[in-house]
């Protein structure tokens, strides 16, 4: 039982940190623009595909460095020549723009790389068990995922709170006019933040690609959960996004690892139903089966009971 718990926790942490790498960029971009960027997870997918192609010629590590840079530049260009123009038409236009962009990127990915799953592999260098506990191995690559996520977040935290540019970004998000009046080029700052946010999604794609498989639907699969996270965490709150990411990561991981199900619950209540009952499918549901819908269940509950999310501020 203990080994199941420990491994479920570690795997939940891997997923949670990965989710936060997407959610953090999405939150920063949301704070800036005031709208959710539906194409955010598409940049994650692009990160995985670019890294896959680069890894074929130059290896995994080159992909890890160059794929996020390419994705970041793409993101900055989308902000500069797309969103900034659409912004003048209001929030609905922006929302529809990012929605369209998400579809466009998915189609483009299928066009250039095909609809099949790519054989994007983690590097041989990390192909060993990091440690063995109760006879079960924890892959080094997963440890690497945790390490790189934590390193990036510490760096990001340091830049955002301690550096001059970080202070300017914080102020520009809440008081763009005032910051501009002090002589800072706010549109350039926003383009930069959009680029870095996209690059972060790209990094997530690069390191998740080998584990979660690289296929044209990967943006939709993870993207929907990332939106759940920013809503649960409270739109615009980085701390909330972090808590929600880890929470969802762990929740899903524990649900998958557990072998509990409706039969156990019914036994506990002293009830028993026959195999031929019309609702047999419902009575035999297990927790691993419903794990994928748990985030959405949480989303609905949070929206009903705490509409601002865990750390969100009430909109004025």
């Amino acid at each position: 039982m203990l080994e199941v718990f420990i491994f479920a926790t570690l795997n939940g942490l891997v997923t949670g940190l990965l989710l936060f790498m997407l959610a953090s960029g999405l939150t920063l971009i949301f704070s800036m623009m005031g709208v959710l960027n539906f194409a955010h997870a598409s940049f994650y997918m692009l990160g995985a595909y670019f890294a896959y192609s680069i890894s074929l010629y130059f290896g995994f590590w080159s992909g890890l460095i160059f794929a996020p840079i390419i994705v970041g530049v793409l993101g900055a260009l989308v902000e500069r020549y797309g969103l900034r123009r659409v912004h003048q038409q209001g929030h609905v236009a922006e929302l529809v723009f990012t929605f369209g962009l998400a579809f466009l990127i998915e189609e483009a990915v299928q066009f250039f790389w095909g609809a099949d799953t790519k054989n994007y592999q983690s590097p041989d260098l990390l192909d060993f068990p990091l440690f063995t506990l109760f006879g079960q191995e924890f892959p080094a690559y997963r440890g690497f995922m945790i390490g790189i996520s934590v390193a990036i977040f510490i760096g990001l935290y340091y830049v955002l709170t301690k550096s001059r540019i970080g202070i300017i970004i914080q102020a520009a998000i809440t008081h763009p006019h005032t910051v501009s009046n002090l002589g800072h080029n706010v549109p350039l700052i926003f383009m930069g933040v959009f680029g870095v946010g996209s690059a972060l999604a790209g990094v997530a794609g690069v390191i998740a690609g080998p584990v979660l498989t690289t296929f044209p639907g990967m943006a939709v699969v993870l993207g929907s959960i990332v939106f759940v996270i920013v809503v649960i965490g409270g739109l615009g709150s980085l701390a909330g996004a972090f808590i929600a990411s880890i929470l969802i990561g762990l929740l899903q991981s524990y649900a998958i690892a557990s072998n509990l199900g409706m039969p156990d619950l019914l036994n506990l209540l002293g009830l028993e139903f026959g195999r031929d009952h019309p609702l047999t499918d419902l009575w035999t549901l297990t927790l691993p089966q419903i794990a994928p819908i748990l985030p959405f269940l949480l989303l609905v509950l949070v929206l009903i009971f705490r509409p601002t999310g865990l750390m969100g501020k009430r909109e004025q």
């Binding site: 001059r164 202070i167 914080q170 102020a171 008081h175 006019h177 501009s180 009046n181 002589g183 080029n185």
Partner: protein
Amino acid sequence: MLNVTNLHAYYGKSHILQGVNFNIKEGEIVSLLGRNGVGRSTTVKTIMGEVEPQGSIQFKNIEIAGKKSFEIANMGLGYVPENRDIFPTLTVRQNLLLGQKSDASSSRWSIEEMFGMFPNLGERAEVAGGVLSGGEQQMLCMCRTLMGDPELIMIDEPTEGLAPKIVEQVAELLQEIANRGVAILLVEQKLSIALKISHRLYVMGHGQIVYEGTPDSLMAADDVRAEWLEV
């Protein structure tokens, strides 16, 4: 230094500035007076590029109408808004750092000097700006703009809602700014400070300049004060 000629501005369809003309020379303290709603704040916002200008605004003989706010600020035009827009979650020191331009070495103002002038701010250097009193926030806001080393600073209603003792401090700071050769455009509703420190005054009414003179001439012009200033 600043030449505003036939300046018009609109909020939606309402015509706020209807041909404003005035100028400020180097090192001069000029006040822009008038009742609420006559377009004083809109005038400085339009000069700063926050409101779209029609007409001519020349700063140091360069046309700045149509330029972006940050470009105008980087040319040496400072602006302290009416609402004391400090960054509440950032510390006092961080607020001041935000005012600095990328090349701060040649600035005539330094953070330590500001703290020397206003010990209240120095004591709270690492405290969030949002917890300061109204007067302290006003000082912080003015100091923040000064950190960018402007050659002309436009200050919108710096004494509004402040205790008389703080108003005195504001007046002292304005004098210190002028002593260092920085020109000032002071936007005020009340006459008190403006009469004491200004070289010249303009009075606004209905989106236009309706009077230009010196503190002495304005004190003598009872009709102007009655029609455009007294409430």
